[in-house]
Symmetry: D5
Subunit: 156 residues, 10 copies
């Protein structure tokens, strides 16, 4: 499949895991299979874990990453490796969610992208950041992306 | 029932299953029972399975197909046979969802059609594409279709 | 209760059930208790059953009937008898949902009416038609009805 | 607490229950703690029961009462006593829901008020009326109330 | 992490709990990690308890606090201590929800902030206030905040 | 149907409801359709309501009545009327559950009978009595009844 | 497949439905694939409907049929046709559940068989009969069957 | 009601709450309404809160208290006041659950009593103690109590 | 890890899938990590699919495989490949469940093994076989295995 | 609180986390608050994570640890630190569950202890080991422990 050529992670024999600090270089993309069509995709990543930057205690949560692709789509095995690279990294939940959003915008230059973090409670309180990114200019494509997110949210 | 005449799949004695590559020729339609009325229909297909195009491993998911009919409706037994024809076919989830959307638009020329794919996780990550298609021109019918999808989504 | 006078079904001693073909004559109405007030009512009918028009196999589903009344409301016991009259009748789901909508519009001349059918799967696929009817003219009353449906849907 | 002065029901030694016909006189209010602020409150009353006006059979349901206060808020123990006063009273569900709405509008003169009734099924059919009331005039306050209801409904 | 400097509560050795009256002085903030980016955060606090101002009986509920940050974010351990300071304080639910909203607006001067209280039933009735606060002026930032709340609510 | 002869309640034209004190005379039975066979039946009565004997406040709960029949079965419409006769009667939950058990043992002389009451909370505490009755003598039939209850409980 | 030879219903071209009175002649069996092995099978039939013998009103419920096979297993399409033959037949729930048990014991002569009926409420009360049948003699096989039912019930 | 005489808490005008250390003196009982009958009762107390004995941080949990009465039953409003008396008391969960069990055994001298505590997680770990107490001697009554607990547990 | 030596499937570069007929040769085992200790393990395989032997239509279900190991444990990636080998194979559900049980007993010679199949409904009826296998002789080890299954079932 | 003296982890100022290999030395105990009483405690640890010993990929799961204490109870903060010490350690699920069981038996010498691991699926298959440990000798205490586990399991 031509779209799958050039992918290092998927189907590779050996996978070595970088677990100590976020590494956007692990991310890989493949061409949008239907450029120009109106479609959106969500990625549900229930196994996100990092460390509290002050106490060092492990934190656990679920990340939901949704985007309206322009030219590229993120390959999910490479996304898995990238998210694992937060495992032994210290950062506040708010910073993690915005950081993942920025790294993916850097990779995909999508029409629109959203990252939601649902973290387990600490001290009885659960923290849930949601970050939203839009491509600059072109208000018509922004409206279409918002409409696609609404269709997606009314489903998931 | 005149609407049911000409249907090969439903009620036929022998059903032979094509399982190796998607075959839009398996799709059949019957006339819209209430052309001109404002109505939408959703088809819930929880038994969709295909193969990963790179590793060959079977993938499993649920497809939700919703459309606002113009002249034709898809007959559900023929849809079942068409979806089974992905069983031993290799394709990324994003491509499957957009492919099913394009084949059904070819059959029905609907006012609007939406396909949502909810695939089981691989490597802890679940991928959920959603494709949206509208008939060209006629913004008034597009608005009515969006309103019908909103009624549908507030229910299902 | 003056509103209940003239109702044959509710409170009647003998009830004989017509089970063979839909009979809109079974439907009865009583006056809107608060004409002019903004209110909507939903009727949840989980025990709908009819026959497949081609194979004769019984089908089962749930009907949700919501309407913004104008002058009349449907009396629920007569609605029950009317829905039972589909028991041994053959029709596609799409036709049933639109048929019930048309019969109730005939009885009530409501501001707006909606019928949703959630049918059990056959061959692994579940079919869910949704029909929408508005009284002609008066766009202001149509907007108010849509707003009431939105309040209703955000609840149920 | 000055707001609580003048309340008869809450904290009173003896409570005698009127169970035979709705008595709006039982309702009491206290001053809005934050007049001018944008806030809405919902009251969930799962233990509503009255009698069928034709057959005399007890009916059971849940009432959801939401309103955007202007000058006054309803005291919940007095609301409980008022709702108990429907216990041995005969009325159609549609009439009960609109009646409760009118009595509370009489007490509170709210910016906006909504009553939703979710009644147990009879003869397999469940009836769910929803009534909506707005203070006259002032479209700006009506829009703000609708927005508050939307925030509330996206939560509950 | 510079953002965490100056925080007294998080990571401190000894924590002494003020349980008798709400004390906004317990609240602490840290700088917004992505000022200018479009993001919203929700804090789920299921362990809120205070006393009924009239009867003295303990009340229990869940507070949901969502805000679109401007310059500052609330540090969650300090929020925990602040909420515990309601433990032996008497106040109506409506007053608590609006009080928490005002104290947090005082700390954060956010673009928009919302507090929702879901209190356990008393006398069979549950009370659920929702308070909404917007920064003055700048209708464009208010619209963006409403859009972020809508994304958040379609998720949580 | 010979079994249905002699039943006053089911199918009768007029039903008058006794609502003020429990009246076991309202209960009716029909012959066991398969005497000697091993079978058990459960009756789920979610609409039980009575009054607190001290404060007069209405209480609400669900009764589950399960029995292994000997010669007779309780007719469900007559059971409905009997349970409604507690509506305006004052009694502790523990007394109601044991009272219903004794009245049904009086009617049916069953091999074994169990009544479970799941009452809504008051003051945050929910009370759930469970009463168990066995026919005197015949330990073999008691063991078979216990086995049937176990099959039933592993299901419901 | 030799086991499937001689089956009329499964795979047949034309299926004609008998809907008026229970007809055990519709039932078919195929040989136990692993005679002598310890295994049990459950059949979940959520679409059972019959008529009330007194009022003629349709009743709806779910049947759960579990048995430990000896020599024969019931073919599920023939079971479907047999259950449909109750559609327009009048019988009390208790009689239906015991009747299905007796007809299947007639067909299969199983080691043990159980039928559970979960019927929708009428007049607010739901009736749930459970019938149990054992092959005569051989207490050792009865104990093994009970153990298999226990394994099954701890799962379903 | 003679059984209710002598109860101070239920129906009393003024209720003053002791919130600082457990006070078994707050507990009251009323006579077993059916001494000699086989029955068990469960009390569901979802609003239990105390303090961590080391850090002073409030803890929250649900207590389930089930017992087979001999001569006396615990009055639920007095139980509520007794449980509130843990509010500002420091104790490990294990000690609280065993302490409540011992105090209630002191009040009731029941045939058997069980206390289960389901506490909210701290540091991601939830602690759930279960304490069991039996009256001394009389193995037959102990077996009957265990059987009643099993019936109760197969329900709740 | 010595236990992992000799495993072909797990960690291998290339995986080729056999999809046409069940192949027990695909199964691999590793040594029991705690021989002699009392422990049981369950494997939840929600993605099982095969073909109807008569109509050729794909069937879908979930297999639950639980066993008390003696000397060997099944390696889960090899189990995955073995279950995929049923993909294009025709067999009745009853035969599949017993076949998987026999193949795994052949691989593991376990103390006890159980296979449960939960298949999607066809024609409205769902079929759920459960197969149980015990090592010959040694009634003490059989009792211990049954006790472990009971602990497992009270959990899952 | 004398019971809390000598505990290093709970209430300590600085907590340093060992994340690389399981370290039973991190575990701490406090005296059983009611030695001789019949009670059991469960610890729910939903945030367990370790690495696959062959591929190095992070695995995630929930551990349920239940035990009947003899002289000592495990302090939950020290348990948290001990479980975190598996974070970057490679081991099969079966080995982890048995390892945690052995380490806790070493610390507590309990009457009985059980560890259940519910791990997220890999390759579509979820693995769930359950390990059971009993103190040697004293069959009476083993029976009492099994009875306590049964009470616990019928609850959780
Ligand atoms: Ca771009
Ligand atoms: Ca939706
Ligand atoms: Ca067209
Ligand atoms: Ca909805
Ligand atoms: Ca809602
Ligand atoms: Ca006003
Ligand atoms: Ca708006
Ligand atoms: Ca929401
Ligand atoms: Ca959503
Ligand atoms: Ca049960
Ligand atoms: Ca069960
Ligand atoms: Ca289970
Ligand atoms: Ca006694
Ligand atoms: Ca062996
Ligand atoms: Ca359990
Ligand atoms: Ca239970």
């Amino acid at each position: 499949m031509s779209d799958a050529d050039g992918l290092r992670a998927l189907g590779s024999a050996r996978t070595d895991y970088h677990l100590d600090r976020p590494d956007a270089g692990l991310l890989e993309a493949f061409p949008n299979p239907r450029p120009g069509a109106a479609w959106v995709v969500g990625l549900d990543c229930p196994e996100f874990t990092s460390l509290c930057p002050v106490t060092g205690q492990p934190d656990f949560g679920r990340l939901l990453i949704d985007y309206v692709p322009d030219g590229r789509c993120v390959e999910s095995k490479s996304l898995k490796l990238y998210l694992f690279s937060y495992r032994n990294h210290g950062a506040f939940h708010e910073a993690c969610v915005n950081g993942v959003a920025d790294d993916l915008v850097g990779l995909l230059a999508p029409v629109a992208l959203r990252v939601r973090g649902d973290f387990n409670p600490r001290g009885g309180i659960a923290i849930r950041p949601l970050a939203l990114r839009f491509a600059e200019g072109d208000p018509a494509r922004r409206r279409e992306a918002l409409e696609l997110f609404e269709h997606y949210d009314r489903w998931r």
